[in-house]
């Protein structure tokens, strides 16, 4: 899996309330979440997310379990999120809906180019990001979760499994 996008830089400890505020959760209309994404941080961010790679500081997605945070990012057109670390429920949600996350500490001035999010054979699940041609390895996840991630999420996998 490969991807490419213009970097949108965000600080550390971006919480799920900031990604999508509670006042927008009472709906099934996903476009509302994409429209109001990061509204309390800076409403202009939403306009820059189509085809973007978010490069954030540590602990991205901390706070509540709301899956709407991961869905909003995907619906807004985010290609992937790169951060030194992710909060765990957000991390699971992203796997489940097929939003690529890359655990990697990048400074955020340059274009981030993703590379080998998952190897084709799925045998050595790893994530990395390249900068100046140097590859870095990031988080390791189990092969089962890697497979789910690469097929676009658990909702597509599970009906086949049970």
């Amino acid at each position: 899996m490969q991807g490419r996008g213009t970097a949108v830089c965000l600080p550390a400890d971006i919480d799920t309330d900031v990604i999508i505020a509670g006042r927008y959760l009472r709906t099934k209309d996903r476009s509302i979440w994409a429209t109001h994404i990061f509204e309390d941080l800076d409403p202009a961010i939403a306009l820059r997310l189509k085809g973007a790679v978010i490069v954030a500081g540590k602990n991205f997605g901390c706070g509540s379990s709301r899956e709407q945070a991961a869905i909003a990012l995907r619906e807004a057109g985010v290609v992937a999120v790169i951060a030194p670390s992710f909060a765990r429920i957000f991390f699971r949600n992203a796997i489940n809906i097929g939003l690529p996350l890359i655990e990697c500490d990048l400074s955020c001035e340059e274009e981030a180019r993703l590379h080998s999010i998952l190897p084709k054979d799925g045998s050595k699940p790893a994530a990395g990001a390249s900068r100046s041609g140097r590859s870095r390895r990031g988080c390791r996840i189990s092969s089962k979760q890697a497979a789910s991630w690469s097929t676009g999420g658990i909702t597509r996998d599970l009906p086949r499994a049970v």
Binding site: K28, E67, N93, Q145, I154
Partner: protein, 403 residues
Amino acid sequence: MSTLSERILRAPAGDYVDRKVDRAYAHDGTGVLTLEAWRRMGGNRFGNDTRYYLQFDHIVPANNSTTATLQHELREFAREKSMQFSDIGCGICHQIMSEDAVLPGEIVVGADSHSVTPGAFGAFATGVGATDMAAIWLTGETWFKVPTSAGIHLTGKLSGAAEAKDLALAYVGKLGTDGATSQALEFVGEGVSFLSMDERLVLANLSVEAGAKAGLFYADDVTIRYLKEQGRSGTMQAPEPCTYCQDLDFDLADIVPLVAVPHRVDTSRPVEDLAGLALDQVFIGTCTNGRYSDLARFARLVKGKKVAVRTIVVPASAAVLKKTIRTGVLADIIEAGCTIGTPGCGPCIGYHMGVLGEGEVCLSTANRNFRNRMGVGGEIYLGSVATAAASAIKGEITSPEAA
């Protein structure tokens, strides 16, 4: 020798395991997406050996017809599928699981980040998102990466006006919001025996604010006595010598009243540092501090006085509310000028009632003070019940030790 998480999940830290979930719960907030995902995954079955719960607590009663319609669909579904359903006014999901369900040694998963709360019973309890919960509805199982554990070593006894909430703000402050990401916190040491179940629930509840996957206490005679009072029984758990990935030590006698300042939970400072800060609202409640012992403590401190600022009190459950009526606690709270909300999450998530206006300041006993959480432009300070009581009486942040 194993940590409690390793014992319950039956695998060493670092392993990925699939495990049967003993109890799975979701609420009116996460239930909507869970149902959607469950249907998308086939929507044709439920795991056989898992007990399923659905509790309405986030927007209770419904604030408009959009919410009412979403809740109606979920309510009908829960009844049709014979889930254990708790309608509006029954209380907060974590509180209902504590009063009525969880036992030591169980694996409990909730579709809410504060599902770490039942870890106070010696269960492995953790939160997931909607799609993970939908998969649990379908199969009764989920995957875990068995966590490494951090030891929170407690000695001594809380004294003066200090509460478990102050200790919770102290440990989150020390760890930072990601200081225990994906780890399990184990609360151990001789100090634990002096902590009631309500106090343990507070400490487990805040563990996710340091990023933790779970926050656990070993079931002891305090646990077993509590379970017995609620008509349940359980087995005690003895700690084994084990290795923690990090260790924190607290002498409970050193804990003083603290306040976490906007917009982070790991920013705790002594209440005295902020004394005099004018308030627009005080809120007592939530899955952190809305239990009977909290409301009784609050009533004791405000009895015979009048609050100087609007003060909202929301019991964590109907059982809590009923007990405050029986014991006169509720009358004392109302006589002091406070208003009472329907048992549930109250204004904590800013979905419906009791939210703040632009520039308003609230002292809350909840567990999160994120930007705009309780209303756009509002500021949330987190503190204990005693700090809330002292502050409500003066209309400004006030140390309970000065009151």
